[in-house]
Amino acid sequence: MSESNEDDWYPLCSIDDLAEGTLKKFEINDIALVAVRIGDEHRAFPPFCPHMSEPLHESGICAGAVLTCSKHLWQWNLLTGEQQGPAEKALLMYETSVRQAQVWVRIEKELVYDYQEEDEEDDFEW
């Protein structure tokens, strides 16, 4: 576990609550997130696809350590969050840890995708 403020860590679920490769949605302090188990590793991330904000717990397909959003086939490495194939944005990740058979997640603040980054287009003012 990192040296972060202990107050930022929240118990998410028992390790037995996460099935291999099955996305499960949770809500902690009004912040929604999706968690998954990959082997002995656990990952938690925002519940929306960084492409067009599809609900990943419905549109996401896990195959090994690869997550695919079935909407437009964007893919990510679940262990690192790095994008693969046609995806253009990485998956944001919450830090996770396991303590006494419980999965914990660190939520310092809600992670949100910047869907408006195209606003930076120099010659396209709104």
Partner: protein, 346 residues
């Protein structure tokens, strides 16, 4: 109207005709705009426009429900310009590259509607001008006074055709199909735009195929199978296919599928799937010489073709739940996304 598509990779100008959607105008000029259904369903073509410069022909389109008006989001396939405008296209698509495709507008006459199964019919489109299309592509069709176009994949294949054929399921509440079925056998004149779609296959690709299709979603795959049969493609390449419907009486095209199967039995395996298990005694072991299995398409596919998935090209067609199940199967088997082709119409 003058429309400028732009993003960080560049900009391109096109002339948009009266009543023409932004997507159609761009595609007509070969601009590689993102799209899948072309009919307001899949939301692949979300882009952004400045306030008041475009208007939607079908604001209630399913794909428009999650748009953010504050950001100027719009569907390219549903919006027409009301003034010269700039359209921001998200993503890394290089707009100045040419797609190599040039779909066009024209008119056609729907003829020879023939019911081939409960609520399923084939029909022919007599086009004013012949078209060239790839096996697996579709046309957008619009009946007079309809809000928008509907996509229909060609079942026929010919390098240049003036009479493509289609298969249509009567969808309750679906204006196009209900109109067709209610006005049975009455020829109707329609707006046509196309060809469209990327779920295509070219025999020159030299790939073995797995096909998973449900109901009328078999349409584009039939075009691919007919082209492959006519070019004797399966003498050198393998095909494993699952075709699913709800009940045995819902099947169609079976005689032709059996002929394809029997043309190269060593390389072709076609299986049938029925998903409605309410009457377990009513499902025969085979139909038209093709084996029937009980279950959804992806479940049957997992049973009969699990070992055939790797290294093959996956071609899918059908309703959303069938596509999702089949996608899950292919991805779980390690099939890369660039080897999976389908157009999401639902």
């Amino acid at each position: 109207m003058n429309v400028t598509f732009l993003n960080k990779q560049g900009r391109v100008n096109v002339e948009c005709r009266e009543g023409e959607t932004l997507l159609q105008a761009g595609l007509r000029y070969g601009v590689p705009l993102p799209y899948s259904c072309g009919a307001g369903v899949c939301s692949t073509c979300i882009a952004r426009s400045k306030p008041g410069t475009v208007t939607s022909m079908w604001p209630q389109a399913p794909g428009a429900q999650n748009l953010n008006p504050a950001k100027g989001e719009c569907l390219l396939c549903q919006c027409v310009p009301v003034s010269n405008c700039e359209i921001l296209v998200p993503g890394k698509v290089v707009l100045t590259e040419n797609s190599g495709m040039s779909p066009q507008h024209q008119f056609g006459q729907l003829v020879n509607l023939e019911e081939i199964a409960p609520s399923v019919a084939t029909f022919e489109l007599e086009l004013d001008q012949p078209i060239t299309f790839l096996a697996g592509q579709y046309l957008l069709l619009r009946l007079p006074a309809m809000e928008g176009y509907r996509p229909y994949s060609m079942t026929s294949f010919s390098t240049c055709s003036q009479n493509p054929t289609f298969v249509i399921k009567c969808v309750p509440g679906g204006r196009f199909s209900e109109t067709l079925f209610n006005d049975k056998f009455k020829a109707a004149r329609v707006d046509v735009f196309g060809p469209m779609g990327k779920a295509t296959f070219d025999p020159a690709e030299e790939r073995d195929l797995t096909c998973m299709v449900g109901g009328s979603g078999i349409a584009g795959i039939m075009s691919i199978l007919r082209q492959s049969r006519d070019t004797n493609y399966f003498s050198e390449h393998k095909l494993t296919m699952v075709f699913g419907v709800r009940k045995p009486e819902d099947f169609f095209f079976l005689d032709e599928l059996r002929e394809i199967q029997e043309s190269v039995p060593a390389n072709i395996n076609i299986h049938l799937a029925v998903s409605d298990s309410s009457d377990s005694n009513s499902v025969p072991a085979e139909l038209a010489g093709l084996p029937i299995w009980r279950g959804f398409v992806h479940e049957v596919a997992e049973r009969v073709m699990a070992k055939d998935l790797s290294g093959r090209l996956g071609l899918l067609g059908g309703p959303p739940a069938m596509l999702d199940g089949s996608l899950r199967l292919l991805l779980s088997a390690g099939v890369p996304v660039h080897d999976i082709r389908y157009d999401k119409f639902g």
